[in-house]
Structure formats: structure tokens, C-alpha cells
Point group: D2
Chain length 367, copies 4
């Protein structure tokens, strides 16, 4: 296997390349009886679509999803849901140049090292277009979670040196601006920073934050399939993510225990914590509090500046990469982080349905 | 399943609780013909053993491993290797107090929320003793890697505010001091810091770094099973880890593309990179360079200070947790990070054996 | 998951329903560098296509396969290969009748029991058209096996009371006649028997046999993933198969040990057996001899005769099922048995690549 | 992996060899809150214990199970349950002879072919003692099923030429006689037949039948994880099983559709079938009727008669195998078939808990 399946109970298997016929995903494990339309999926795809903003590639793709299976009379049937997005804007141009050398920061060299050759057209399988399958599949996971009262929300926390101010947090602003930041002032500053990047033919990175609200306590498995471990796997599998944090994250390593522990308390008769340094996870299991995670994303490796590299003949050369590059991928990756998070949480919720004899008896009351 | 199996090809399944009969692991996927003795495993277990230093719990456990299966005449047979470490120092004391409330920063509450009750003796399955199974299984993975010329090395990078100086890096010093730092000066400062923590009845966290040398290029799968994603899963599944970084990690989010990209170059006829901000991974696949990862570990939640919490009756109470606590778990966790890394890398190396028709023909030359 | 993934290393995931958009499959684990064209797959699909003979449904489907991903310049890239066959001949007719009751011998009732409702158009996911995905995926497995010198061949062994005579065995005749028997005389008799079935508005069953030649010794895992156990899984997962045999199969239960054991002997310096009652498998592992298996297939449940059943309101009724039925599915299932066998064997061959340290060193010679 | 894990949700991983330290199993996926004692497991182990009857090996093993983990205060905790049975009666004798050649009908040759060498002491991992792990794990599955009102029962259907008469069926007689037949007259005849086998230094095979009562309709997945496919996998993974049947099994291939279809009808307001040729499974999913399966078991390959074989040097030789052989393994395998069936059914029941949105909402009622 080439590692294209994610999940154990609610699974997605993605396929497709940047410049092939299209990108698709087979979603399995969606319970029967969920109302589902292509529109439910399209709204998520539109959030990652190129051409949405001046900070994204100019490649014009409609990214229209077709449902190939698994839906009958507007509801899921319990069998695999296959979704296909055709590629329509692959430029037929000459790729012989890009085929001949290894772009710095890209997977060109490692694909060649692994397979002996590569589909060099637009990055092939390593292209960011691969995330279409994740987003389409994750849209279904997110819809199931919503039906269970659970909400997942991701947004840009920082771009380059600009970080949001939580006092200005406005969730409704996220989709209304090209940075996907929930803070209008920060978004403006980040915009200025990106404009400068573009002018300098350079690129920028940033941080995406994602929160899960109303997740019941008890989700996650004790040892290897801890909720945080599975989330880390999910998020770090997104290209360009180089670090992952849960709750207070990297900060905890320099804290004292007395400052880092969250005291338990009661609120309206429910167990909760006075603080949430833990990010809603204790011993790998959700504690009923808000789950908080962060993904650190590197600057887009494709830049117009001259770079040093080697070619397939093993000669050192200087290159100027042509093509249509995003100066930053963070805003478009926000929905990828959100959907990968949804997929992970739903998968572990299904797993948790097996955790108690009581649950088995609820589904199978012996007559 | 309770998430106690790790890996797809080389797998470990761990079992056991802090105060039960013992801790064990079943290792499957070890190829036949590897010379293996209990001593090979014991040297790894000894590195995580309590009682090794003044910064570890005083619980005196010999942690002696017994091989139950899978070895014949000193070599692996290709069938499951079961390893068992008996618990010998469980105190028979009264646990009714600890059973009655939820310790801050621990999994007591989340286990109860998940299962309806918990084995409260010493943390049960959520105890740090669970890592014995990982280390024992990972010792076998590390031995296989060594036979293939690949070396994994972990060490303490920082404790509280004290970080090592790479100019003083001395690998041989790691096992020779209670901080597991590779820098004598830093180790001394860290020791002073920990002494103060103990005096203050507080605890400390830190950062563990792990490097892999001589890993061939091509290891890791393109989409969900990227080498970095799988490493993140492995490392974040270790209790108390709250953040994970690969290469330049969190730093990349504020860098420019031109500064973050590593140029390819040639060295003695081999493709390499001028810098290694990527930490040896491009597109989720090893590039032949050194792999570098970091785990951020929270301060031990068990502290002697008075803390606020609630009890099982739902009453807010103040507690002083008794027992034998480590003021820091970082030094003992070093070998856990190292072995989890070894397990992950070996697993993906096995997966990669299927990546080319050439490889199939090497194993199955048709007559 | 809905059980739509087969295999551990070389996997297929199928999707689609009889009267939906189409039937597809995602094939993962094909090693990079295999020459592959849609024609390689189409020849297998053509063998199961309806309308090939008078004993098959009159539904006219071209079953043309489209490759959506995973191939570049005529070779597999090592990433998922998605294949799609569009449905073109779904009749738009009225299904309200069939929706209202449970056809005897069909999965109508059990789908309703499982999911609360069903896609009743042509059987939905339980239709025989589901096997298109298996055949398309298995065609790739068969091609890889051929490159390794291994050949899989299935044929009809019996139809109703007519069984082939091995003295008349002619492999070239299999594809040349509508029974898929390798014996011209038996094929004629079987044809007469089927003509009578059609006249009687009844249906027939039969036995498919499959042999694997030149499989090396050593394939199969010792305990749960024995070669015969995995083959049984594969073959029994084909709709309508009610029994599975390996080697002498059911006969062995009434034999004596002295008559059933196969003596080892030498032939041209190679270990072989004087007889092959075992069907080429000992202890779940191939012994280098020919693998022989049989699938017993029930008569098509859709018949034109009046039958008793109940409707969804819970009333007992008599029904005459309309539609386009095959009087026998055995000949069309031959290629399904062949491809499921190929998938299973290849999967276990990939697994076996991990069985020895020697093999690891062949792929990863340490420098 | 060496194929030692069975199941996807309720899993067992077995380990151990005939003459090693012992045989064990790790059971994962048992829901928390099930009352469980070692006695629950021991009663199953006692049914397969050698030395129970004159038709079984004289090796005297107490096969006493030790619970190593996963139980707290008499109840399952939801975490892995490790079980260990120490070997106590391994004869320390000389195995150099058996090491030097390949016993006909055994896995000696295929293990050597796979791994390059083998643990030749008593068959190592390919010994029938391996089934201890299955029976111990399956005992837990059977207990869970009982709590849900589902009963699994296996018995000997035939031994050599002697088959039971269903008119004399007496379930209580199964455990009361050394043939495990539920028919006293047949048991006597089978006993005479076995006495003759022993006298002739030969061995016998037979058929085991297993029925499942009160399994709800809806269990099994539509495509590859059909209930019958998974049962076939489970049963064919037991050493010496050479054929598997569900319902009318091999008979169906010569039947007409009109005779093979089971008409649906109502009984006390419940949907049922007038006949049960299908063995309780339609389209791979349980239909609420009794599940019926059969395993055909070959005669024990170890016989005292002189046999032809080859040795490791590649010389043809005659051998008389010494040691303690069962003249038949069928009666001891009955409990293995029963427990493997229980494991399979429970695993699919857990999977089915994900099949409907309704079920998710039962476990996660959103507040």
C-alpha cells in the first residue's frame, strides 16, 4: 500500500494526481441514513479552491464534485461513497525542464529515490491538489459530527510575523477574507506582509489553529491511539506541516508542574477544568473540554527567486521555477486541517462505541 | 480494540498495568534469522528503569525481561516474540483515597468517563510503566536497523529553561548522567534546576531530540503515511508529549521560502542538501539526510504541592498526592522516544520493500 | 467500514451499485514500474461481461474501464490506481414492485435488516455487478504475478450434474465456449442441461476450480493468515459461493492418514511430492506444488417461477420476479474466482518479503 | 507480521510454540464491565486438553491459564487481556532425528522453505498447541455473546465413515464422550472405527459442524467481509481443515434454483424462512435464522506406519515417526471451531454497531 488510506472505522482512500484525470476519494464507514448531497461537500471544496484570492495560484479549477456511489434518495446507504473531481485546467505545456531537475523543498528527489521515476507534471501525487480527497471525505465526517452536536473550526493563527489577537476573535470573519484569520486587524497586517512577499518573489508560512467544541469526554484510546497521537498523525500528514501542538504545546516543556496542571472543578454540575493547558486531552482521552491543536506550516517551496539545485544527470545548476505558485498555502490549508481533524475525531468516536458492555447492550438488546 | 497495537508490518502489541501481574509486549514481523538474546532487550529496559537516578521514582523494580516465544537457538524464527516483565514492587498499600478523586493532569477522570470505572492502582494502564512494552519491542527494531547500518539516537535537549549547546555535544555522555543530556555543562545546570524543583515540591518538563543516521532515501509513503506523520503519531502516543517537531519545526512558520528551502548539492557523488531545515524529510519521504525530530514533554503531573480537584461524588476538594513521583520524566523518556522512532522507521522500511517491481524480482527471481 | 477493502499489502477497495453512476475500484500497493494499459484490464472485464452468451443476462453493458490515476507514461507509479466502469444500461423502469417485497435467496431482507432501508434498484451494492471492481483490480494482480512467472487459471468444473473429464482437459477451450469448461464433451452436455433449465424457468449451480502454477514454496503465514484461509476468505466473499475446498477438500474427512499423506520425493533435484492431496499447501504455506481450490456456487436465486415470500408490510405473498436473469452465474464467475485468487496470492507474496533478514539485506544493502 | 492477529475490532494475537516457554494470547477489544474469571476460560481450555480421552495424545499438560492483565476486581477494564499457559510436559528428548527430515503431511518442509530453518521441537509454531491461544481468546468472545443472548455450539458430525443421525441429536452428550458427537449410537460406532485405526497404526479425519442460535439479522458486511467469508477465513485457518461449507454447502452446486431458494414467511410476527438451505446467511449478512457451518478435517498426518520422505540433505528415506500422536484430532478441534466462530461473529457485531446513524445517536445522544 502507498499509505493512501486514513482511518480505521471511518476511512478515506484518496487517489489522483495534479495533472491526471482527476482527484478522488472513497469514503467508507459512513453510517446509513445520513442526509447527504453534493452541495454538502462542495461548500468545503470551495474553501480550498484555487483562484479564490490574490494569495492563491491562478490555476482556474472549478473543483466540482461528482458523487459516484453510496447515496440513494438523498441518504447514505452504509456502503462506500466515491467522490470524483475532474482536473480541467492542467496546462498541456512542456514539462521536460521540470522533469530534468529537483526543485528545492519539493518531493521531486525523494519520489525518484523511492520509485525510480516520478510523474513530474505539477508534482503528480505530491501536489497540493491531493488534499481535495481529504476535504471531500472530511466534509462527510464533519456533517456526521454536526448531527451529533460536535463542531470543528479551523482558522489562520499567524502568517509570517503576524499573529491574531484573541480579544478580536470573530469566527464569521474567517471565510470573509483571503488570510482565513478571525481577526480583521491582523488580517490586514498579514495582507501587507504577503504583498511584500509577492513583490520580493518570496513566500511565507504560518500557523493554523483548530478547535473542537462539545466533544464528549472519553474519546481516544489509552496507548497508541491516543486522541492527540492520532490528531498529530492526521495533521502532520498534510504536506508542509513541520510541527504539531496540542493545548499549550511547546510551552509546556519549560513550565513547572504546579503551573501546568489544570485543576478540576464543577460548572453547572458538570466536571470541568479551571484552565485548559491540556487542550482538552488527558492520557490521550478527551476530557469534555475544548480540544485545541496547532499546525506549523512552512513557506511554499515554489518561489520565483533563483535557486541552486542538481539535475537528474547529477550536475549542479541554478534554476528559476516557472508556473503558478501560491505565495502562501496557509489560508487554503485551513479547511484541510479542519477536515482532517473531523475525520480523526469521528474515527475514534466509532472506536469508542465498543468500549463498554453497556453500549453493546444498547445496540443489541437481547430479546 | 483499545489502541494497543502499533505498526502495520513490524508490530508491537503491549499489555499490562502498573500494579497487575506485569507488563508485556508481543512483537510480530521480526524477520527470521536475527540473532537475539534477552540481553539485547535488557540494555534498553535498563535505560528507562526507575531507581537509576535521584531524579526518578524510588520504586525499586528490576524490570527483568523474559522471552516467552519466537526465539530458537539464539535466533528469531519469524513468529511472534512475546516478552514479559513481571511487576515486583507494587506496594500493597491502601489505594482507596486515590480511587476516590481525580488527580489533576492525570488520566483518572478520562478513564472513568470512557469506561465507567478504572484500575486506580498506580494509574493502571495509563501508568508510565506501560512504556516497558514499547522499549522492549523497540529494542528489537533498533537491533534490526543496526544490522542494516541505521542508527537512532535520542537525548535530552532541554530541561526547564536549560538547553544544550551543540558545540559541546558528546554522545558518550548521554548515558553517563541522570539528565541524559549530551552536554556536561548543561547537564550540571539542569541538575541544579531539578534540585530546586524537588525542594519546591514541584516538577519540570523538557525537550527530547532524536536523530536517525544513514537512513536511505525513499522511506515513507506519499500521502497519509508520510514518515513525519508516522513519527508524529509514534511520539505523541507517549504520555506527556504535547508537541512534536521535525527539522526546523515551529520556526518554519515565520520563515521566508528563500530562507527555508534547502538547496540540493553533490557530496562525493551523492545527492545531498546544503542545509537540513527539512530534518531529512521531503514530501513525507526520507531524503538520505539526517532525520531530526523533537518531543516536548510536560512536567510530571504528580506533585507534592496541594492541588484543587473534585472527587467521584462530585465535591470540590483539596488534595496532597502521596506516593513515589519522578520530579521529571524526560531522562527516562529518552529511550522511549528512541525506540518508538526505531519502530516507526523499520515499519516504513518494510512497507517500502513493496514499492518497486525491481524489489519484487530481487526476492522472487522467476526461474 | 463496510468491508469493501480486500488485502493488506496489495489492496483493492471497490465501490458502486448496479444502477448508480458506475462501479469502480481503487487498487493500492501495485509496485512502481509495471507496464500497464487499460487493455490489460479490459480483457479480464470482457470475460465477465453480460451478453457474452445465451446463458447470461441480456443487459447490454460495454463495461469499458477508465483509468483515473496511478499510471504515468504507460507504467504504474506506485500510487493508487483508480478504475471506473460507468453503468450505461440501467433500465429506468419502475422498481416500486421489487422495492416492496423480499426476493427469496437475495439480500433484500438482510440489507433492510442491517441498514433500515436499501437501494433496491437491481440489487444495489449486492448486485453481481459489484464484482467488476474485483476483476479490474485482480487483473493488475494477475499481471504482476505473470511478471514473476506465476500463472492462475480458473474454469468451470461442473454445472448441475455435469462434471468435466480431466482426460479431455483443454485449457484453450475455456474461453471459447459459454460454459467456461475446459472439456468440449462436458460443455455440450452442460449446455443441454442449461437449455432445459431455461425452458423450465429454473436456474442451475456449479463448481469452479482454480489452479496456481509455479508459486514458490514459502507463501502464506503460519497461523491466521494461512494461504488456504486467505483463499477461503477471498472465494467465499464472492456472492453465491456456499462451499470452499483446497486439494482433496471434503474427501479428506473420510480418508485414512496413510492414504491422505503425500510422500516427499525428489524430481530433478527439487523437493516435490509423489501426490498432491494437499493441494499444494502444508501448514498454511505453499509447498511449491500446484495449488488447487474449488468454489461451490448456488443456482441463481432470480428465477421466473412463482415463489412465496413476504412484503415490507409483513404480508405473505406470491411473486413472479421480472427482469433480466442469468440461468446460471458459474461461467461469468470463473474470472472472478481467478482474479480473487490472484489478489490473495500476491498479497501474501508481498507479506512474505518481510520473512527473512536475508530479504531485508537484499533490498537494503548497507553501504 | 506473521499472521498471528485475528479480527479487526475484537482481536486476538497468539504466540508461543509447542516446546517453548508456553502458549499465550493477547485479547483486545473486550468491552469494559464484563465479569470475567480464569475459570470462564479454563472450562474451554479443558475441552481441548490432551489426555482427556483414549483418542488423544498422552502428553500430560494441565494447560492452566494465567490472566496477566486487563481484569480489575473481577471485571474487564477495556484494555488488553493477556493470557498465558505455560508448557510443562515438553519432553527433553532428542529431536535431532525429526530435525533432519520432513514429515509427510506436516509443515516441516514449508517452514524451512519460508524461513530457512525451523523450530523443529514438536512442530514449534505449527503445532496443534497453537490453538490454545484461540480457545482462550474465543472463550471471552463466547462469554460476551452469551451476555447478548447468542449461543454457539460445535460438535462432531462425522468420523471416518460414521455420521450422526439428527433424530438422535442430544447436545448434552457432546462433552460426555470422547468423540464429541451428539449421538450416542454414532459415537459408539465411531469409537469402534477409531479403535481399528489405532490397531492399524493409522489415523482418521472427520467433519465438525457448528451452529449459532439467536444471532440477530444484519450481521456481516456486504462485500469482502461477508459473514460467511469471515467464518471461512476463521475456520480454514485451523490446521488440518481442508474444506468449509455454509448451509447446504457443496450440495447447492447440483441443485436447481427452485429447490435451493428458501421462501420467506412469518412466524409469530417475525420474518423467517420456511427452509434454511442458506445456513442463515443471505448476501453475506445474517438473516436471523440459525447459522450452520461445517469444517472438513484431514486425518492426523503423524502416523506410526512407515512412510517415504526426504531429509534435509536431499536424500530419499523411509521413516517411522515416534512420539505421542492423536489418532484423530476432530474431537479436540470441536472447541477450536466453536471459539473461532464466536470470535468471528463478535467481531462483525462490533463492526455492525457503526452501520446506522441511529446507532451512533444511541451512544452519543447530543445534549
Amino acid at each position: 500500500m502507498s499509505g493512501s488510506i486514513f482511518g480505521k472505522h471511518f476511512t478515506i482512500q484518496t487517489f489522483g494526481e495534479s495533472h491526471g484525470e482527476g482527484i478522488g476519494v472513497v469514503v467508507d464507514g459512513a453510517p446509513a441514513g445520513l442526509p447527504l448531497s453534493s452541495e454538502d461537500i462542495q461548500v468545503y471544496l470551495n474553501r480550498r479552491k484555487p483562484g479564490n484570492s490574490k494569495y492563491a495560484t491562478k490555476r482556474a479549477e472549478s473543483d466540482t464534485v461528482e458523487i459516484l456511489s453510496g447515496i440513494f434518495e438523498g441518504k447514505t446507504t452504509g456502503t462506500p461513497i466515491a467522490l470524483l473531481v475532474r482536473n480541467t485546467s492542467q496546462r498541456s505545456g512542456d514539462y521536460s525542464e521540470i522533469a530534468s531537475y529537483y526543485r528545492p523543498g519539493h518531493a521531486d528527489y525523494t519520489f525518484d529515490a523511492k520509485y525510480g521515476f516520478r510523474d513530474y507534471r505539477g508534482g503528480g501525487r505530491s501536489s497540493g491538489r491531493e488534499t481535495i480527497g481529504r476535504v471531500a471525505g472530511g466534509a462527510i465526517a464533519a456533517k456526521i459530527l454536526k448531527e451529533l452536536g460536535i463542531h470543528v473550526l479551523a482558522y489562520t493563527r499567524s502568517i509570517g510575523p503576524v499573529t491574531i489577537d484573541y480579544n478580536h476573535f470573530d469566527a464569521s470573519f474567517i471565510s470573509a477574507n483571503p488570510t482565513a484569520m478571525p481577526d480583521e486587524t491582523a488580517a490586514e497586517k498579514a495582507g501587507d506582509f504577503l504583498d511584500k512577499c509577492i513583490k520580493d518573489t518570496d513566500s511565507a508560512g504560518g500557523v493554523i489553529e483548530c478547535v473542537i467544541d462539545h466533544l464528549p469526554a472519553g474519546i481516544g484510546e489509552p496507548v497508541f491511539d491516543k486522541l492527540d497521537a492520532r490528531l498529530a498523525h492526521a495533521i502532520m500528514s498534510i504536506g508542509a506541516v513541520k510541527a504539531f501542538e496540542i493545548g499549550n504545546g511547546t510551552e509546556v516543556s519549560s513550565r513547572l508542574g504546579s503551573a501546568n496542571n489544570d485543576s478540576f472543578t464543577l460548572k453547572d454540575g458538570t466536571v470541568t477544568k479551571k484552565t485548559n493547558h491540556a487542550g482538552g486531552i488527558l492520557g490521550g482521552i478527551s476530557d469534555g473540554d475544548q480540544i485545541i491543536l496547532r499546525a506549523h506550516i512552512k513557506p511554499t517551496p515554489s518561489i520565483y527567486k533563483t535557486q541552486e539545485t542538481i539535475n537528474r544527470k547529477g550536475e549542479e545548476i541554478s534554476v528559476n521555477i516557472k508556473g503558478r505558485h501560491d505565495p502562501i498555502i496557509v489560508p487554503r490549508a485551513v479547511v484541510v486541517v479542519e477536515t482532517m481533524t473531523a475525520l480523526t475525531v469521528l474515527d475514534l468516536m466509532l472506536e469508542n462505541m465498543h468500549s463498554r458492555m453497556d453500549y453493546l447492550k444498547k445496540i443489541y438488546p437481547s430479546s
